[in-house]
């Protein structure tokens, strides 16, 4: 059973009336890894996650979470997953620590509540009712509620939406700790940097389908050329450089003394260029590697800006 993937989705279709939110989506999530589901608003991210959480019944396709059907085997699944909704989920009059303590009481072996309160800085919420907490405090409480039951897998729906940079980093640190301790994390986001920083695997979702899936490095390399720039003496003999580099690599002098090398930029290529410079007595000033970002990949795949 523990060999099952954390999440396995095959051909998922979900419609709301005439609108198809998810349109034949496939996704496999490994255990104890961080997977970012990345896409613009309306791509079907939340629908996909809520199907995994057992809130929505698929119109077609199969969904298995930790090997279980989220609808028919919900009682067995629920204690094993942690859920952070996009918003809400707390009694408007409840205090942060009170609500967290209550969630903890629904599990047999929960985390230490005071330690978690400290870790997420919820102690400062005091006796303030939930409806008067700041957006950031509400987000942190929802995150704490998702992990307090020591789940095997957590679903975080836009966990850092509306957080200031410091709070975002604190959330990222927590996600990394969860992975280090063997907890699987599935998070939705429309922040490229969040996916790049956190995720072992990124699934780019557009119009209800996964249009690309892989590690951030793989996605950034795949199909997209990378670029290396440096400056040196004008009119260097680029033909000798190209001989030392793999086939398919291109080099050009853009303006006098500014050079661009395009191809599969990896450490080996960097070393080759550096040693060629040494042989030619060139000091390569401002040597920079320009990698394609997820943002570029996303734009190529979907023709859309992510933060539309």
């Amino acid at each position: 059973m523990s060999n099952d993937p954390a999440v396995e989705i095959r051909g998922l279709v979900k419609r709301y009336g005439p609108k198809t939110a998810v349109d034949g989506l496939d996704l496999t999530v490994r255990r104890a890894s961080v997977t970012a589901v990345l896409g613009p608003n309306g791509a079907g991210k939340t629908t996909t996650v809520e199907t995994c959480e057992g809130y929505l019944r698929p119109d077609a396709g199969t969904v298995r979470v930790l090997g279980l059907d989220p609808i028919t085997q919900a009682p067995a699944l629920r204690p094993r997953i942690g859920v952070m909704l996009q918003s809400g989920g707390v009694y408007s009059g409840a205090r942060a620590v009170e609500m967290l303590r209550h969630m903890a009481s629904l599990y047999a072996d929960p985390l230490d509540v005071p330690a978690l309160v400290d870790r997420l800085g919820l102690g400062s919420c005091g006796r303030t009712p939930y409806r008067r907490l700041s957006g950031g405090q509400q987000q942190r409480l929802a995150l704490a509620m998702a992990v307090v039951g020591r789940p095997e897998l957590v679903f975080l729906d836009e966990p850092t939406a509306g957080l200031d940079p410091q709070a975002r980093r604190a959330t990222w640190d927590l996600v990394r700790e969860l992975r280090a301790d063997g907890v699987g994390v599935v998070l939705t986001t429309h922040h490229m940097d969040e996916a790049e920083q956190l995720a072992d695997e990124v699934a780019i979702v557009d119009a209800g389908k996964v249009v690309a899936h892989g590690s951030p490095e793989l996605l950034c390399r795949g199909g997209a050329e990378n670029t290396l720039r440096f400056t040196g003496r004008p009119s260097l003999d680029l033909a000798s450089l190209l001989k030392a580099l793999p086939d398919g690599t291109q080099a050009a002098e853009l303006t006098a003394g500014v050079y661009r090398v395009t191809g599969d930029v990896d450490p080996q290529m960097l070393a080759t260029v550096a040693s060629w410079c040494a042989q030619n007595g060139v000091m390569p000033d401002s040597l920079t590697v320009e990698r394609h970002t997820l943002e570029d990949v996303f734009l190529e795949l979907t023709g859309k800006e992510l933060r539309a």
Binding site: E53, G54, Y55, P75, R78, P79, R80, I81, V83, L85, S87, G88, G89, V90, Y91, S92, G93, A94, E98, H102, M103, S105, L106, Y107, A108, D109, L111, A115, L116, R119, M145, V147, G149, R150, P151, E152, E177, L178, A180, D181, G182, V183
Partner: protein, 255 residues
Amino acid sequence: MSAGTFTPRPAAAPVTRMIRAQTALETRMLLRNGEQLLLTVIIPALLLVLFSSVDILDTGAGKSVDFLAPGVLALAVMSTAFTGQAIATGFDRRYGVLKRLGASPLPRRALMAAKTLSVLLTEVLQVALLTVIALALGWSPHGNPLAVAALLLLGTAAFSGLGLLMAGTLKAEATLAAANLVFLLLLVGGGVIVPLDKFPDAVRSVLELLPISALSDGLREVLRNGAAMPWGDAAVLACWSVLGLGAAARFFRWE
């Protein structure tokens, strides 16, 4: 927090512990809410004191507190099981509380059991308080306490069904308005403070079929007149319970 803090160890708590925790939280939320307290405690107590001590209502022969106390007990049940529960549950639904709890180990049946226990717990507090006030005003109750308890339970079931039906189908704001309006209308037209024989016969025969009328009349039969179990009123309440709870089970939307 050190390495290994988050190592998975997932398991649900025993269901009795979950129900106990959920009941305690629901009751705290209810008692912390000022508007709810106004409805469930202050208004019934004020009505009891005001109309028992000031002779502005013609409540028939005998002391007016003997007429009013059973009516106010019925009102207390309605305020908690119907109005309070409808409003609270409507906002729980709107704030995603029901949704979030739906992904926790707490089964829905356990959540409903906790909500019911929380309503009953609140009613025990209300009945105790109102009884003390009524006794201080010279109330002399009669009848079998078991018949009273049975009527209160049936009334709770009837009003809970209707309250949950409203909370689970309307928007929270609509529930808030409608539940308060219904509370006011039934306060006036349900035999709580105004005897039903003050109304024209045609109107009265309709009003008698309301759950609040059946509850206040049934309680009055027992507590004032020392009657045995009033089966007619009990039957009306039972019908409302079946209809209300059945419809709530069928139409309640959790999100």
